[in-house]
Symmetry: C2
Subunit: 460 residues, 2 copies
């Protein structure tokens, strides 16, 4: 049976669409750039604006200070006994708008062109956060109640690394106890194609330093008798993969869970335009681990990459130097059940074994994050799927994301609840770039999908 | 039969040692720093000073302008019919003295401490050039004649690349026709151990650029499906050598002439302190091509080195970037009969073959120079050997130099005459560093050796 958006909620949203959009425009006018201290007052104003709106629609709301920007915490706990509790996470801070001169219309003067609402923060994440607020308003306005208990948590530091969020969630774990976390801060696979993001890769990021002679030497006077650390580094890095492109670090794949044939088939069935992707990348050809499609390589397989190289003379022209030191930034994208600590240990052991006599190797941990996978077979994915189909007219596809969203793992780990990533952005939305936009249609359909989701969540 | 310095020349040098040193001090006081235009008048003054001195001792001298600093050209053509003609090359310009604060005594106030005359240019090359002038003076003062025809050519641009020297030699080739070129601008193997430098390596210096995506990409969103140019570069560089340290570029060794067993034995017999060398280098261990000693690796074998690496993010911390481009500076030291053009072509072909699909490789020529080898078995080495033994009490050893001195090849190529590199510097002389010095004893013994050399050269 295909679900539908409740007729009376739909009618309320129809009747209030223009107002909802005007309110979002007001929210977007506030330049809550968390990275810039000169915008601290604006960021605080955005938190206050959001809290006032949550209060107005009937949520018990407070603005909770943190060592950084505050958290807006709004709750509604009036659902029938036995109803589930859902935590909605979003963020009210935005990326810096620079370079301003590349915006077609000013970043904090929201403007609609061709069905797109252009503004900094429109899709990341004020628009996607606010459509949740409006879905809640629809329920409360029409029915005076919600079918689920609801916690809305909006932070103001997502664009600067969510430094205080894990501590906040840990410190309020009892109050934030829930059955499911819903996040709308990602994109759909294509216009009109609702999507559930079910996989995020983790990260292990290292800096590798190879030291040879105590200082740079003259490559004529010493070359041939002294081990060159830049060459040693190149040889060490070359051992990270085999000739086919598969990672050759012993044990690297041991913790990797193969994906279910069903999930792989669904990924392979997506209408992915490989030629368009290649054009976007601008390289001569694609590449990667054999036996996997491009989307599988991006979403389901771990990587090992060189992110940076530096050694010796890098200026114009020729300088005959035998470098004293060579550095590489090396990072791996991880998939379940790899962990940053285990992978770092394997890389370290491998590089030390690959280092020739005559150089010393040090490896420094720079950053790490766990991979994440949702449970597409579980009831929450099913409820979200029905709600998305009701709003968009077709069932969602499963998509992955090659990057990392650390808060997802934090919520799942601390609260022990499954996370649903139900995004309403679109490819090309310029999330961190000039001319960021959200589809006006997706803003409204997203609202209807979320409104339906509360009903579906209660129906499980 | 061991040669001896002629008794009357020896006596003249004994009687005039103090004056010779005072004159050298005057010469060293002139800050003829060719690299600094504010010293152009000083550089011209040094040329004039040297020319006046050459004139005073009886040479037909002129200061010949060039597009840069002038050449001092002094000649004596009164030798008996059939006597050989020898061209002495040196330079009257000096390196900049900076950092001045690291000098124990001011760089242009020559000072003797512990048998060393400290001043910028003392050993490189004014002292070594001036001892030739004094040897000529001894002959002309004592005997009124020289046993060889003599051309003394001193340039003022050696420290800035000798940009106009090859043109000058080419343009005056008839006038500069000679049987041998003698250069004293290098060092002895050890104190008390006269040396003839008989090998210089050449150079082929390239910049290798590997391009992947059109710009840096997010390593999460794209990593695993796009060929990483930094990794590709590392893999390509790793193919330049085999696991033993031998260069693996096909054809690379084809033009390399194996050195005579006799020469190799003489190099191996040198009292080389490998532990001291390792300490000086400051590395954990030495390395290089198997089957050769450290000195053989430095003097007789070609190399392939990475001089610089640059790609992606190289600042502090982690940035998850998949680089768009990766660059390496790569240079080879060459030995006879390798040529820069042929080696560059081999490297290019090898790197292109080693590049994976998905990247494009470009190679840019930056610098090149031919290797050089003297003829230790020839009559000029023999004559120089007898003269050095006469002055120092022991025969010279043969030494090589891993770096390049391009003017050596220019003289040999343009004038078709063998080159003798008879240096009187010493290890640790700080040629391009603060506290440059020349051994006072070597300045005098060098003078005696050169005075004896004219006699030995005529005796062939």
């Amino acid at each position: 049976m295909t679900a539908a958006v409740s007729r009376e909620l739909d009618a309320f949203i129809d009747a209030n669409t223009a107002r909802f959009r005007d309110e979002l425009v007001d929210f977007l006018r506030i330049p809550s750039v968390s990275a810039r201290s000169e915008h601290n007052a604006d960021t605080a104003r955005a938190a206050a604006w959001l809290a006032a709106e949550c209060t107005r629609i009937g949520l018990a709301t407070e603005v909770v200070p943190t060592p950084g920007h505050p958290v807006v915490l709004a709750e509604w706990r009036g659902a029938p006994a036995g109803a589930p509790t859902v935590l909605v996470y979003g963020h009210y801070d935005v990326q810096p708008a620079e370079p301003i001169e590349l915006w077609t219309s000013p970043p904090f003067e929201p403007t609609v062109r061709d069905g797109k609402l252009y503004a900094r923060g429109s899709v990341d994440d004020k628009g996607q956060l606010y459509l949740h607020v409006k879905a809640i308003e629809a329920h409360l306005a029409v029915r005076g109640t919600l079918p689920v208990n609801l916690i809305l948590l909006a932070e103001g530091e997502e664009e600067v690394g969510s430094d205080h969020l894990a501590d906040f969630v840990q410190g309020h774990a009892a109050r934030l106890t829930c059955d499911c976390v819903v996040i709308s801060d990602s994109s759909m696979f294509a216009p009109g194609q609702p999507s559930l993001l079910f996989a995020l890769r983790g990260l292990a990021y290292l800096e590798v330093t190879v030291r040879g002679p105590a200082q740079d030497l003259h490559s004529g006077s010493y070359g041939g008798a002294v081990v060159n650390p830049a060459m040693a580094l190149a040889r060490m890095l070359a051992t990270l993969h085999d000739a086919t492109g598969r990672i050759a670090i012993p044990g690297f794949y041991d913790a990797v869970k193969e994906w279910e044939p069903d999930v792989r088939s669904r990924i392979r069935a997506l209408p992915f335009d490989e030629r368009h992707f290649l054009e976007e990348v601008g390289a001569a050809a694609l590449g990667g681990e054999p036996g996997y499609s491009t989307l599988e390589r991006l979403w389901t397989r771990p990587t090992c990459e060189v992110n940076g190289l530096l050694s010796g003379y890098t200026g114009e022209g020729a300088k005959t130097v035998l470098p004293g030191v060579a550095m590489a930034k090396v990072s791996c994208r991880l998939v379940p059940d790899q962990t940053p600590a285990a992978i770092e240990a394997l890389i370290l052991a491998h590089l030390l074994a690959a280092a020739p006599p005559g150089v010393t190797v040090t490896v420094k941990h720079l950053h790490g994050g766990n991979p994440w996978r949702g449970e597409p077979g579980g009831p929450w994915f099913a409820a979200a799927g029905r709600a998305l189909e009701a709003a968009f007219g077709k069932p969602p596809v499963l998509t992955g994301e090659g990057g990392s969203i650390p808060v997802v793992g934090d919520f799942q780990r601390i609260l022990g609840a499954p996370v649903l990533l139900m995004g309403f952005g679109l490819p090309g939305e310029n999330a961190h770039a000039p001319d960021e936009w959200i589809s006006v249609d997706n803003f409204e359909r997203g609202m209807r999908a979320v409104a339906a989701f509360w009903d579906e969540a209660a129906r499980q």
